[in-house]
Amino acid sequence: MTKSILIEKVAEKVEGLTRNQTEIVVDTVFDSIKKALMSGEKIEIRGFGNFRLKARKPRMARNPKTGESVEVPGKKVLYFKVGKALREAINTDQKP
């Protein structure tokens, strides 16, 4: 499912909300999450999951071609942890 189909589905469920307004809602949600992440905040969506940046330490690695040691700098990666309610939902409402 893509974002545009998600927008359509949500628009169908909310009476009086246009497709355009729904698009603004969906964009606002993901943009807000993004902004919060970039400012170092953790995002907790109860029942859905948490988003946060995890730090990866710098490490030594080797160039496999030359055998030369190189330092891979540390970086941050986005980590999503599935919430308990969501984890349970995907394992109980299974369609045959």
Binding site: M1, T2, K3, L6, K9, V10, K13, V14, L17, Q21, T22, I24, V25, V26, T28, V29, F30, S32, I33, K34, A36, L37, M38, E41, K42, I43, E44, I45, R46, G47, F48, G49, L53, A55, P73, G74, K75, K76, V77, L78, F80, V82, A85, L86, R87, A89, I90, N91, T92, D93, Q94, K95
Partner: protein
């Protein structure tokens, strides 16, 4: 940041009541949840992809008691960040 902050952001963007904004946020996450429950993945361009993956039953062990047990087949969600967002995050840590 919690759902309440998302509700506020929507409340400020659209001329809706707090209650309406709240309901819409709930419906959005519920719709995503239902989609995952049907085994379908969701791709949000510029953000990332939530994939639903099936795991088969496998033998495991209770690390506390050392007891052998079967880990039941289950579904898990993996999140893959979009290239665009990944680059933005990498710039941040540079």
């Amino acid at each position: 940041m919690t759902k309440a902050d998302l509700v506020d952001a929507i409340f400020e963007k659209l001329g809706l009541s707090k209650k309406e904004a709240q309901d819409i946020v709930e419906i959005l996450f519920d719709t995503m949840k239902q989609t995952f429950a049907e085994g379908e993945s969701i791709k949000i361009s510029g953000f990332g992809t939530f994939n639903v993956r099936k795991k088969m039953a496998r033998r495991g062990r209770n690390p506390k008691t050392g007891e052998d047990l079967e880990i039941t087949p289950r579904r898990v969600i993996t999140f893959r960040v979009s290239n665009q967002l990944k680059e933005e995050i990498e710039k941040l840590s540079a």
